[in-house]
Point group: C2
Chain length 421, copies 2
């Protein structure tokens, strides 16, 4: 089978050169099209590809997909079909959109009009139903920065940090799609002196993360070996793990973050498949001390994805506050899955495993305001002359990410959320 | 409407005096009956009540329940109907089973044979589909005991503990029904000296808890006031929050328990409704310092439920290792819900809010082996002359709970799990 990742493939659809949605990407999402219900879609250039319409038009007939598989309101039933089905659909899309094939879609303008819709005409929705969501803490720089601020430079990294990908269970119900306004949460705040008070967080923050969407489950009691873990991943999302630092700081000892995180997390609408990201796998940082055998991997699983965070204040030019790359993560997704399951924990289809804040080595590559403005000590200048140590009401946080190689760009689009009072 | 909690009501079904399943209980569960699919059931005495059969036999016709509502494999669709429907069904069951009514069921032996089945003939299954599960830490004695062991008596309770019900997000996917064997998990263990090793936990423990099953959701962004929170609860389960103490101790700083907990939690098959537990609400411990206004309640929400844990080793008499009561919990379920939602977090139908280990004031009322055997310093003698500091392979842990008042007993049955290698 020809490889849909082949960088020489070109599409007959006009794709802007800076588009995240190349012929080699073909991500999956869910959208609401006009008065119809929710349907599964892919994307190319400035168009969404209506998979339900393609299915109705019989372009998938030989793939033996269940009827209505793209009309369930989430991708979970499609993901349940397994990797063979995902790959067959992505390959079919690639074939239908290739310039060098006298394709059945290219020659039928009527079909094209039903299948390819301008992206701005549709509303994207949550791509998966998330049952369990885990947040890791996989960036050494982030853990060091936060540890330095809260426990001092000498105790920055906890003693366990280099032995295991530290993670904790997050809240699945409050994960929302890009575009959803984020309400500044209330919670207990502890003044330096005196009793705690109830108030709005004054330290609202983003965390730039990638989240893996699980595609192949493991049964309870059955660990996934690290070098098999990649095959369990359907794809990845951009993930903003919204955080209220003051609420978090007062509550998190001894059982970890709770209300400081569970008011919202937001995701990009597009799941870029693990298959499409395969060409962008690179070796991660050298791990010293050596990890235990169950965390060793033979293959490379770090992802060379350029990431950035912009801050937009009303009627001003956006400011890019962070530029980083997920290859800096100390612990790979393969190691995260191997660790998560070593005690037998079962991961299900649609579960999210988020990386934790992705911070690079230099201060402009930190993935949260807490680190970028260093706990408020180095506020960021905005175009209207104001400064930001944390996120204010009316600000919009935008995260973007893409991989690029051999002239091929594979990206996520964005996760964009405005903060409301 | 007559109250199905009325202690003077008697049933025409023969109910042993020590049965948890009195006419005033009428809990809900899911079971598998012979070759049929899964169905919603209730219980009375030594019988399950097949709600799907009652529905087919038209005993609920005037209640306007959707067709097949008791045949979904979980109680979630029934719970979604809302409190009016739950109460109408429980009231109808009460009426059909009352000795003083010339009931439609009592006089039809054919119907009875279809509807009432001996409990030992059916297999109970997970009663709800759990999307999110939260574990609190609501017992002062438990938090004090654990804090004393790990941080010393002077720092036993963290500074935030008396200001908020501390909680953390747990793993929903590994929650299993009573009867499921629990496999001793692998994980990283840290010897006092040297590097961590991978091995089976040597400190497998239970935690005796009650879990609230959410029945009425709150939308994202909308807090639930403490005195309205009880109305959001469908009912309660016995909950065993299995824990691997050595794995937990090495991993839990700074982000809380993860693999030390997520290999399994187990629940009783029966959800005792909040309505049935209403007569057993009592004032909880006095809270000092006073709590913030959002945590204040006018009504009493502590639950006077007698709880016990037995340890069974093969072919020996069970040993009751703990006798306690949920009324000792410092933080009530009303306060847990008010706190969980104060930042806007949405709770959904079927979500579990577990109490955390329930430990009473004296050492025989502690709710975990860690506390009962005080970190191994006071091992428990077993009938074969062996001792237990933690749970060994082949041991079975059984938790039971019931409330009793005015001659009426309302109980949970048990959650029973054997530990396998």
């Amino acid at each position: 089978m020809e490889n849909p990742n082949d960088p020489t493939l070109r599409s007959w659809v006009d794709i802007p050169s800076d588009s995240d949605f190349s012929l080699q990407n073909l991500p999956f999402g869910i959208c609401k099209i006009r008065r119809q219900g929710k349907r599964a879609v892919s994307a190319i250039g400035q168009y969404i590809i209506d998979l339900a319409a393609l299915h109705e038009l019989r372009y998938f007939d030989d793939l033996n997909l269940p009827q209505g598989i793209f009309e369930h309101g989430s991708l979970n039933p499609f993901i349940e079909l397994g990797p063979t089905a995902w790959r067959a659909v992505r390959k079919r899309l690639s074939d239908l959109l290739r310039a060098d094939k006298s394709g059945a879609l290219r020659n039928y303008p009527d079909s094209q009009a039903q299948v390819l819709l301008p992206m701005q005409d549709v509303e994207m929705r949550m791509p998966v139903k998330v049952r369990d969501y885990t947040d890791f803490y996989a960036s050494e720089q982030h853990a060091t920065n936060v540890g330095t601020m809260f426990r001092g430079a000498d105790n920055a990294l906890p003693p366990n940090w280099k032995h295991m990908p530290i993670g904790y269970h997050g809240r699945a119900s409050s994960i929302v799609i890009s575009g959803t306004p984020i309400r500044r949460p209330h919670g207990q705040l502890k003044p330096t002196e005196g009793s705690p008070v109830l108030g709005s967080t004054r330290r609202l923050d983003f965390e730039l993360e990638l989240a893996a969407v699980m595609g192949v489950p493991n049964p309870l009691g059955k660990a996934v070996p690290a070098d098999r873990a990649w095959d369990h991943v359907f794809g990845f999302l951009l993930f903003n793990d919204w955080s209220a630092r003051d609420i978090q700081q007062w509550e998190y000892v001894p059982l970890g973050p709770f209300l400081g995180k569970n008011f919202a997390s937001s995701v990009s609408p597009w799941i870029v498949t693990a298959d499409a990201l395969n060409p962008f796998r690179v070796p991660g940082p050298i791990q010293d001390p050596p990890v235990l055998p169950y965390l060793e991997t033979r293959e490379a699983y770090a992802l060379d994805i350029t990431l950035e965070v912009s801050l937009e204040i009303p009627s001003r030019v956006p400011v890019t506050v962070s530029r980083t790359n997920s290859r800096y993560l100390y612990w790979s997704i393969a190691q995260q899955i191997a660790h998560h399951t070593i005690g037998g924990c079962n991961l299900n289809i649609g579960d999210l495993l988020a990386s934790g804040t992705i911070s690079g080595p230099d201060p402009s590559s930190y993935g949260s305001m807490l680190e970028l403005a260093w706990r408020g000590e180095r506020p960021i200048l905005m175009p209207d002359g104001s400064t930001r140590s944390f996120i204010l009401d009316g600000d919009t946080v935008v995260m973007r990410g893409h991989a690029q190689r051999d002239g091929v760009r594979v990206g996520f689009g964005e996760v964009r959320n405005e903060v409301l009072e």
